[in-house]
């Protein structure tokens, strides 16, 4: 089942296309890594797809009314904003807003989704802590849990694992992988190509607003592609522990 379909999606800043005619579709069961150097248009692509930016071309999400879209796709922005000193539990419960009738208290279903999100991100111990007093990485995990609590078929996350410790990075990518296996679709932008190679079922590689490659990690992280897009060399190996990718040197 297709959960996101983009058809020649283009986002311009002034005259310059920041995302240039990207056509892609993502189905249930996929954990898609969105990779590319700084300024490649990853964030703009995700925001355009959600209809948060004016754009040309089609996105299956923007044809939905806002409330319906919010029950279909959750979004974790790159800027990790927590404006008020609310408890972790309250913050995660905000993810239920699209499901609640106006002014209603969380119902048993909502409570279940909140508990599931807390459990998935391993935040039981933080539940009653004040979110603004947590460390940056902990806040990121809380915000991921918030997006999980929205319990949508599709999850879009913009650099969710940046700044997390190795254990949390791996655990988070595993959560995304598990979500995909359970029938959700996840699109996550990230800079750690090693984690992308190991945990994503599919990679989208962007450069200067264009989609350069789209496919299984081994077909995307080829020497040619990473030299052309990132200007680096890399090492790929299929091991007993699964695929391993390590960036090596800057070329030229």
């Amino acid at each position: 089942m297709t959960l996101l379909a983009l058809d020649r999606l283009t986002v311009r800043r002034g005259d310059c296309p920041v995302v240039d005619a990207v056509t892609v579709s993502v189905a249930a069961g996929e954990c898609v890594g969105l990779i590319g150097p700084n300024g490649a248009g990853k964030t703009t692509l995700l925001r355009g797809a959600l209809g948060l930016l004016p754009h040309q071309g089609q996105s299956s999400l923007t044809s939905m009314p806002g409330a319906q879209r919010a029950r279909h796709a959750a979004w974790m922005p790159q800027s990790r904003e927590i404006a008020w000193p609310v408890t972790v539990e309250t913050l995660i419960a905000l993810g239920r807003i699209p499901h609640l009738p106006r002014g209603a208290k969380p119902r048993p279903d909502d409570q279940r989704a909140i508990e599931a999100a807390i459990a998935r991100m391993g935040l039981e111990a933080f539940r009653h802590r004040t979110a603004t007093q947590l460390s940056g990485g902990e806040q990121a995990r809380v915000l991921i849990a918030r997006a999980l609590a929205q319990d949508t078929p599709l999850l879009l996350a913009d650099e969710p694992i940046a700044g997390l410790d190795p254990a949390s990075q791996i655990a988070t990518m595993q959560v995304f992988g598990r979500l995909a296996r359970e029938g959700h679709a996840v699109i996550v932008s990230l800079h750690d190509l090693g984690l992308a190679a190991r945990h994503c079922t599919r990679l989208l590689m962007m450069s200067a607003g264009r989609l350069i490659a789209d496919g299984a990690p081994r077909d995307v992280l080829t020497p040619d592609h990473i030299a052309q897009v990132f200007g680096i060399t890399g090492f790929w190996a299929d091991t007993d522990h699964g695929p391993v990718f390590q960036p090596l040197e800057v070329t030229g």
Partner: protein, 326 residues
């Protein structure tokens, strides 16, 4: 819920004290009975036509300013935001000043609040034009500052060019804010606007909660930011415009009350709305009692007292915040 009960009880107690404080000496029981008696005795007239509208206005104005302050802070995600920020109170004051200056108030007494309301409405139209149909909250702040500055400058100009020193004195006194000598006419004039404002602000509660996560995340959760901003601007303007129209400029309530109560509601913007409404009502009631009890002969102005109490409270909050940050 405990907080709600506490604040309601506080408001009720202060309401009774407000009804029974003033220059006519009578016991609490006597006064409250006189409220319901239709005998034309002086005490009944005082209670029904002077003190009751005064206490009601204190509640309405306090609730409006408190709620608008909480909404503004929630929307801008800034604890320093206050309802006057969008320029409505300044413009309402300008309208009132013009009504005094031109002598309109001599012809019919409601000219002043009506002119103030017109000023507020004009400010809303202007701010929506300036801030544009969509866009970040920053354009709203800038537009508000521009309108406030313009209204302030024009008010000064009116004072500057005023040929009549009595009108100038009237203007200055009116701008200090007061609830003295208000009647039910003022209640009925302000109430519809305030009720509209309360309803709009209450409807924005869920959007304000979502905004805790930033504009992008809120929008992705199905919150229509353009509509939220429209509801907020019109709601705040109705509340603050009506309050300024009947009582003059009463500052600090919208800034301090949400600050004081934020910790008690777990910082949740939607809960802070109703808590600040109740807290604001209690604060204005208390201040209006104080102006009558401290200097009964001198007509101490509500706005002046509020600023005198509000500023140190605010300083206290700064020290508290500094300690938390350290």
């Amino acid at each position: 819920m405990k907080l709600a009960a506490l604040l309601v009880a506080l408001c009720a107690a202060l309401f009774v004290v407000s009804l029974t404080s003033g220059q006519v000496n009578a016991s609490v029981g006597e006064s409250l009975v006189a409220l319901w008696r239709d005998d034309g005795l002086p005490l009944s007239v005082v209670m029904q036509e002077i003190r009751l509208p005064r206490a009601l206005l204190a509640v309405m104005i306090g609730a409006s300013l408190g709620m608008a302050g909480a909404a503004m802070q929630g929307f801008l995600r800034n604890p320093l935001a206050e309802p006057g920020l969008i320029g409505v109170s300044g413009s309402a004051a300008l309208g009132a000043v013009l009504a005094i200056q031109t002598g309109l108030t001599l012809f019919f007494p409601l000219a002043l609040p009506l002119a103030a309301l017109s000023g507020a409405v004009l400010a809303v139209v202007l701010i929506l034009l300036l801030a544009g149909p969509r866009g970040a909250s920053i354009t709203l702040i800038l537009a508000g500052i521009a309108i406030s500055a313009l209204a302030g400058a024009l008010t000064s100009l009116v004072l500057n060019l005023s040929p009549n020193p009595f009108a100038a004195a009237d203007i200055v006194f009116w701008m200090m804010g007061s609830l003295a000598d208000r009647s039910f006419d003022h209640v009925w004039l302000a109430l519809p606007f305030m009720m509209l404002g309360w309803a709009l602000l209450a409807l924005s509660a869920r959007g304000l909660d979502a905004l805790t996560l930033g504009e992008d995340a809120a929008q992705a959760m199905g919150i229509n930011l353009a509509r939220l901003r429209l509801m907020l601007v019109i709601g705040t303007a109705s509340c603050v415009g009506a309050a300024t129209a009947v009582a003059g400029a009463v500052g600090f309530v919208g800034l301090v009350v949400p600050h004081l109560l934020r910790g008690f509601v777990g910082a949740r913007p939607s809960s802070l709305l109703w808590a600040s409404a109740l807290g604001g009502a209690a604060m204005v009631l208390a201040a209006d009692i104080a102006v009558r009890e401290i200097l009964p002969q001198r007509d101490l102005k509500l706005g002046v007292l509020m600023a005198l109490v509000g500023a140190p409270l605010f300083l206290h909050l700064i020290f508290k915040t500094r300690k938390e940050m350290a």
